[in-house]
Symmetry: C2
Subunit: 229 residues, 2 copies
C-alpha cells in the first residue's frame, strides 16, 4: 500500500493501531480533562508523559498514529487535544448503552458518574427479577429482559454491558448480539464466545490488585527489604 | 551495569519492566488458567498470542523479561508457566486486603469471586454507616472506619481498596497510608494525591466502554459502512 500521512481527525482502521495505544489514548484524555478543569491551557509531550509515567517519545509516537497535533514551542493545546482524542475514540457524541443485570454491581454502575463524563448514557437496564422490573434507579428504567430486542432496535443501541452472574452471561450475550448490539463490556467472570464481528472487552476486577501486588513485591525485591520490616 | 541473564523466578525491579508488560502478564495468566482448567497441558507462544491478539514475538519478549520458560519443540507447560506468572506477580501466596466503603459497588466487590481465584482475600470491610457496621457480608466483617489502623497493623495488611464516594476518597487514602498500607486500588472517580512510595492503581469503569467505542467507530471507518445500515 502507498504511504499516506495521517491528518488530524483521520481515524485509522482498528487493525492498524495497537490496542495498547488506544488504551493510552483513554489515559491521555483523562489527564487532559483534569488539567483543563484546573485551568491549564497548553502542555508539552514531556509534561503529559511525566504525569502518566511515559516518555515524551512514547506520547508523540502514540499521537502520531492519528495526525499532527502540537505547535512548535507551545506543545499541545489542551482543548484541541481533548477534542481530537474524543474524535478518535468516537466519544464526541453521546452513546446510548443498555445494561443487563441489576444486582449490586449493576446498581453501582447505574450511579457511576464516570460514564456520563465520557459521553456514555445508560438508557435502560434489564433484569428478570419481578421486584426490580418496572422500577427506575437513578432515573434509569429497569425493564424485563424480554424487552431487550425492542429497546435495542428502537433506540439504535450499539453497546451493551453484561453485569449478570457468570452462569447467565453467555445467554445474555447471545440476546444482545441477536438484538443487534455491536460491542459488549463483560463484567461477568467468564469467557464469552461471540461472533467475530462483535467487539468484546472483558473486565476483571482482580487485575488491578495483581498489578499492585507486582509493584509492591518487585519494589521489595529491588530494595531487598523484608515485608513488615 | 553488567549484563546478566534472568533466571526463572527472578523478579526484576519494578522500574525495569514496562507497566504494559506487567499488564499483559495478568492476561497470559488468565488465559493459561482457562486452558489448564480445560485440560490443555502445553502451549506455544504463537497459540498463546493468537488467543490474546498478540504476536508470538510479543509473547516471547514479554516472558523474556523474567527468564527462560519454554521447551524447544514443546512450547510452555501450562502448569509451570502459571506457577512462574504467580511468582512474578507476587500472587503465589494469599494477600489479605482491606476495603473501605460498603455501598453498592463495595457490596458487589465483597461477592466478587475473581479476587479469591487470584489469591486476594478481603479480610475486613469498613464503613461509617451504623446500619452496616457490626454486620457481615458474604462472611466478611464490616467494621467502623476508626478501627482501620488496628486491623491493618494486626493483620499486616499491605493492600487496600477505596470504594467510597469521590468526595471522601482522599481522606480514606490518607487513613490507609497512615495505617501502613503500601498499595491502593482506587475505584472513586477522583485523582488521589499520595506519597511517592505508595503504589496506586485507579479504576475508571468508563475506559472499557471508550475502547469499545473506538473499536466500533474505527471498524466503521475501515469498512465504510453507515451506522444502522
Amino acid at each position: 500500500m502507498a504511504e499516506s500521512h495521517p491528518q488530524p481527525g483521520d481515524v485509522p482502521s482498528d487493525s492498524t493501531v495497537p490496542k495498547a495505544v488506544v488504551a493510552r489514548l483513554s489515559l491521555y484524555l483523562r489527564e487532559l480533562q483534569r488539567l483543563e478543569a484546573a485551568g491549564q491551557q497548553t502542555i508539552s509531550s514531556a509534561q503529559l508523559g511525566t504525569l502518566l509515567g511515559f516518555s515524551d517519545a512514547q506520547v508523540r509516537k502514540d499521537l502520531g498514529f492519528f495526525g499532527q497535533f502540537g505547535y512548535p514551542g507551545v506543545g499541545y493545546r489542551c482543548d484541541e487535544l481533548i477534542r481530537a482524542m474524543r474524535d478518535i475514540l468516537g466519544t464526541n457524541h453521546v452513546w446510548p448503552v443498555v445494561m443487563v443485570g441489576v444486582g449490586n454491581l449493576g446498581q453501582a454502575l447505574l450511579g457511576y458518574r464516570g460514564f456520563a463524563r465520557q459521553n456514555f448514557r445508560i438508557v435502560s437496564a434489564f433484569d428478570c427479577d419481578p421486584t426490580k422490573v418496572g422500577g427506575t434507579i437513578n432515573g434509569i428504567p429497569v425493564r424485563h429482559v424480554d424487552q431487550l430486542p425492542d429497546v435495542v432496535r428502537c433506540e439504535q443501541i450499539r453497546l451493551g454491558l453484561i453485569v449478570v452472574p457468570g452462569e447467565r452471561a453467555q445467554e445474555v450475550a447471545d440476546k444482545l448480539v441477536a438484538a443487534g448490539v455491536e460491542g459488549i463490556v463483560n463484567f461477568a467472570p467468564v469467557t464469552l464466545s461471540l461472533p467475530p464481528h462483535i467487539q468484546l472487552v472483558s473486565v476483571d476486577l482482580a487485575i488491578e490488585l495483581e498489578q499492585l501486588s507486582f509493584a509492591v513485591t518487585s519494589k521489595l525485591h529491588a530494595a531487598a527489604v523484608q515485608p513488615g520490616g
